[in-house]
């Protein structure tokens, strides 16, 4: 991989990490709020359905995960398992796309169903 792509990858990892720091905090706080207030699945869906703010937030969350996880796994594959081939990059890119697809489907489900 050329230096330019390497730096792009590093920047994507750092930016997605910053986004995740915010998103994970908000997500955990929301979960704790929902549990402590005894919100049912129906009550939660009432709040999320048609709510563009929540949909936008979780869209950002899913995209950050989809970018961050494959890059981090690429490092783990290289350093701990010794897998450094182009094939690993392709598999991890596919995994990122799959994460995005599954995540976006879930976001759509709580927004539109």
């Amino acid at each position: 991989m050329n230096p330019r792509a390497q730096v792009q990858l590093w920047a994507a990892k750092r930016i997605s990490a910053a986004v995740l720091a915010l998103c994970v905090t908000v997500h955990l706080a929301t979960m704790i709020y929902a549990v402590r207030h005894g919100l049912s699945a129906t009550a939660i869906l009432d709040r999320t359905q048609g709510n563009w703010v929540w949909a936008g937030f979780y869209l950002l969350f899913v995209l950050a995960v989809s970018v961050h996880a494959p890059i981090g796994l690429r490092t783990i594959c290289g350093e701990w398992l010794g897998f450094n081939s182009r094939a690993v990059d392709v598999v991890l890119a596919a995994m990122g796309i799959a994460l995005a697809a599954v995540g976006l489907r879930a976001v759509w489900a709580v927004f539109a169903s």
Binding site: M1, P3, R4, Q6, V7, W10, A11, E79, N84
Partner: protein, 238 residues
């Protein structure tokens, strides 16, 4: 303080074993004193490396009770209060024999990181005046005292995991040159230090900064290189 030190010393190359020695304990005794006693009185075939004995040359670094240190500047009472010492060669480097490592891969990486000066002037040009308080000069000063002892390199987990990783010392050297206003090798150097084997592989565990006997912070230098590569990327210079 016990009268004797129970010392185990690595004997062999990559394959080998620890040998046990009993060494008289003395006031203000350094670990290098202990190794020298063993070599001169108990085990003449023991191979080890030292030169200045005063923390200037960086050649006597070894792994002492699991931690990379300059043996000449490490008092026994500091690292072995109960009189037990384990002395091994530096980690992450091939062992030539006993406590002597092959430093070639360490210094080859300085070259790979373009850790050498690219002049912008010739010998006929006037000497450039470098103001000592500019931010760039201060950043260079922060890392310029490295003497290449490889303590940081031996302490780095990323080097252990990724043998190609340039390591803290080479990257620190690259960063000092990036801040040398007389140097012209910036963009080439940034390309050389980018990527899986370069500054972006650093996990910021800071073992190098923790262990550096010169109190240099290679972690800060590596962070500086990461920022510089990003700026170069955005500016289209990478």
């Amino acid at each position: 303080m016990t009268d004797k030190i129970d010392v185990t010393v690595w004997r062999g190359t990559e394959q080998g074993e620890f040998s046990h020695y009993s060494v008289p304990r003395l006031p203000s005794q350094t670990v290098l004193d202990v190794v020298t006693y063993i070599q001169r009185r108990l085990e003449p075939s023991l191979a080890y490396r030292f030169a200045c004995r005063v923390g200037m040359c960086g050649s006597c670094a070894m792994t002492v009770n699991g931690v990379a240190r300059w043996t000449c500047r490490t008092h026994v009472e500091k690292v072995a209060p109960h009189g037990v010492l384990e002395i091994a060669p530096l980690a992450n480097l091939p062992v030539i024999r006993d406590l002597v490592c092959d430093m070639r891969s360490f210094f080859d990486k300085w070259v790979r990181a373009k850790g050498y000066f690219h002049p912008t002037a010739t010998r006929t040009d006037p000497i450039v005046r470098v103001h000592p308080v500019t931010p760039a000069r201060r950043a260079a000063d922060a890392g310029i005292e490295c003497i290449g002892c490889a303590v940081c390199y031996a302490s780095c987990d990323v080097v252990a995991w990724n043998a190609d990783y340039l390591g803290p010392a080479a990257l620190n050297r690259a960063w000092t040159l990036m801040n040398d206003e007389r140097d012209s090798g910036g963009d080439v150097r940034l390309a050389a230090v980018s990527g899986d084997a370069g500054c972006h592989a650093c996990h910021t565990q800071m073992s190098c900064t923790e262990r550096c006997p010169k109190k240099i912070a290679p972690t800060a230098a590596i962070a500086g290189l990461k920022r510089a590569t990003l700026v170069a990327l955005l500016a289209g210079r990478l």
